[in-house]
């Protein structure tokens, strides 16, 4: 799932942003060895203070697994400033319909190989689809993106090869960096979707995202079945019903049933069942 966090809604998603800054510290500071500023385990630079837009990929539990940052090219952005080496001192492109994307990263520790839903490949494609669709809906026609050669190869393999490059490839930390051009066309998005097998709407709306994060926090605060007592048959039944529920109405019905039979549970069991059906499902 993809959520877009910008200057308008960032006050609601500060914890998600913190998680993203921590992921960026691991990726750019440790793995790629870039000269980035890390404080309290978070990588934050001056462009993060300019109200950029973040396109953030989440897994089903609401963990940040991928992220990228977008800025307008009409104002201050990285290629006009810190990445000027890539452009060999030349003036950067400036266009109302071109955005710059930087700090593209994917959590390779949490994700797996292969192409299924929890893979690096899936998360990368989903994030690309999210960024291209967000840009296209904003009337943006092209994206200039600063990436490393590995990411460049991933794009080519994923049916999303850049149509050109600007400037040259320069050494940066343990790797190299380059600036690639991507068009935000339906053809490119369709190509990516076909490659990754993603047909659904990738975006999660603000309310759903807030609900997801609330559930995640509740699970962390009061881990379900903390003492690992074997589940009773009734608990198992609820877990089954909860996993089988496909609509919100069905989910609500299960919760109502739990409430109705609440005197058969200890208060702890009841809280756990109501707040973290997912965690229970995981253990069943």
């Amino acid at each position: 799932m993809i959520i877009v966090v910008d200057g308008l809604n960032r006050h609601m998603f500060s914890e998600v942003l913190d998680e993203m800054f921590e992921l960026r510290a691991r990726v750019f500071g440790e793995r790629l060895g870039w000269d980035v500023n890390i404080q309290d385990g978070k990588e934050i630079d001056e462009f993060d203070h300019l109200d950029p837009a973040y396109v953030i990929g989440l897994d089903d539990e609401g963990n940040v697994v991928a992220a990228v940052r977008a800025l307008q090219t009409t104002g201050p952005h990285m290629l006009s400033d810190v990445f000027s080496a890539i452009l060999c001192g030349e003036a950067p492109l400036r266009s109302a319909t071109m955005w710059e994307s930087t700090r593209f990263c994917v959590d390779t520790q949490r994700l797996t190989r292969g192409k299924d839903k929890n893979s690096v490949s899936y998360a990368t494609c989903e994030l690309m689809i999210g960024s291209l669709e967000y840009a296209k809906n904003a009337g943006i026609q092209d994206i200039i993106t600063v990436i490393d050669p590995v990411m460049d190869r991933v794009l080519k393999r994923s049916n999303c090869a850049p149509y050109d490059y600007v400037g040259k490839t320069v050494p940066m930390g343990k790797v190299h960096a380059l600036a690639a051009l991507l068009d935000c066309t339906d053809e490119r998005i369709a190509g990516l979707r076909e490659f990754a097998g993603i047909r659904n709407d990738v975006f999660i709306d603000e309310d759903d995202a807030l609900a997801l994060f609330a559930a995640k926090k509740a699970a962390a605060r009061a881990p379900a079945n903390q003492d690992h007592k074997p589940l009773t048959d009734l608990e198992k039944y609820f877990v089954e019903q909860m996993s089988a529920a496909t609509t919100e109405a069905e989910r609500q019905d299960v919760l109502k049933l739990i409430e109705a039979l609440s005197n058969t549970f200890t208060p702890e069991q009841k809280t756990a069942l109501l707040q973290t059906p997912r965690a229970f499902a995981h253990e069943a």
Binding site: Q72, T74, A96, A138, I140
Partner: protein, 233 residues
């Protein structure tokens, strides 16, 4: 109809309002407004197509202090559809008044960020069904983005200090492509000559036009020649 480049309109305050009217005509909007903030010059500029009655009310009530289409939209990099602001009490406050003046609360604000901390906001509003609005939005948003930057660059460069800072710098690739245009080559030809994709040519031309505050490529060529960035023909 085609929108006339701002620099070719008579030099007066009225030309910005005229430009906004043209945007409304071309893109089927009821009204358009521009607000610009230039901290380098310490100036604020505003131009609207609204009736005087609403403009006066807006000023007298100090609505500019709370108007979220200004204060919220400037924090986005993407155009802000006003439906995104609906829940804010300030939005309710401004648009309850606006509806008394027959104005719709359906609209979009396009934020522009300039290089020196300058910010421009182009808003457009249209009273129509939601479906119609969605369609119109998708159709015109790209062009509105370009219009927003065009009016913003022109307003900002009327300030002498900022104008001096706004001196356009083309990359050698941009200059090279513009030079081939001046020599009469088509975009396709230029792509072949330089062994680059057609889209790369287009993207560089778009950037050059914008840096030279021109809406069309011939205008950009003329200006580039005038300030000596390329040579004639």
């Amino acid at each position: 109809m085609e929108i006339v480049d701002l620099s070719t309109l008579p030099d007066s305050e009225v030309r910005y309002t005229e430009f906004l009217r043209q945007i409304c005509d071309k893109h089927e909007m009821d009204h358009a407004a521009y607000a610009g903030m230039n901290p380098a010059a310490g100036t604020v500029a505003g131009f609207v197509t609204y009736d005087d009655a609403w403009t006066e009310h807006y000023q007298n009530q100090g609505l500019i202090m709370v108007d979220p289409t200004i204060h919220m939209a400037r924090r986005s990099i993407a155009p802000v559809d006003w439906s995104r602001l609906e829940r804010s009490p300030d939005f309710q406050r401004v648009f309850r008044d606006a509806s008394d003046f027959g104005l719709s609360n359906q609209g979009v604000t396009i934020p522009v960020r300039g290089p020196y901390g300058d910010i421009g906001l182009l808003s457009a509003t249209r009273n129509c069904s939601k479906e119609e609005w969605r369609k119109l939005y998708t159709h015109v948003i790209s062009d509105l983005q370009s219009m927003a930057v065009h009016i913003h660059d022109h307003v900002v460069s009327t300030d002498e200090l900022t104008n001096a800072l706004y001196h356009p710098t083309l990359s050698s690739r941009e200059a090279e492509i513009l030079q081939w245009v001046a020599a009469g080559k088509s975009q396709q030809d230029i792509g072949d000559i330089l062994s680059i994709s057609h889209r790369t040519v287009e993207v560089h031309l778009r950037s050059s036009r914008e840096k030279l505050s021109a809406l069309t490529t011939p205008q950009a060529v003329g200006r580039a020649i005038a300030i000596g960035l390329i040579t004639p023909g």
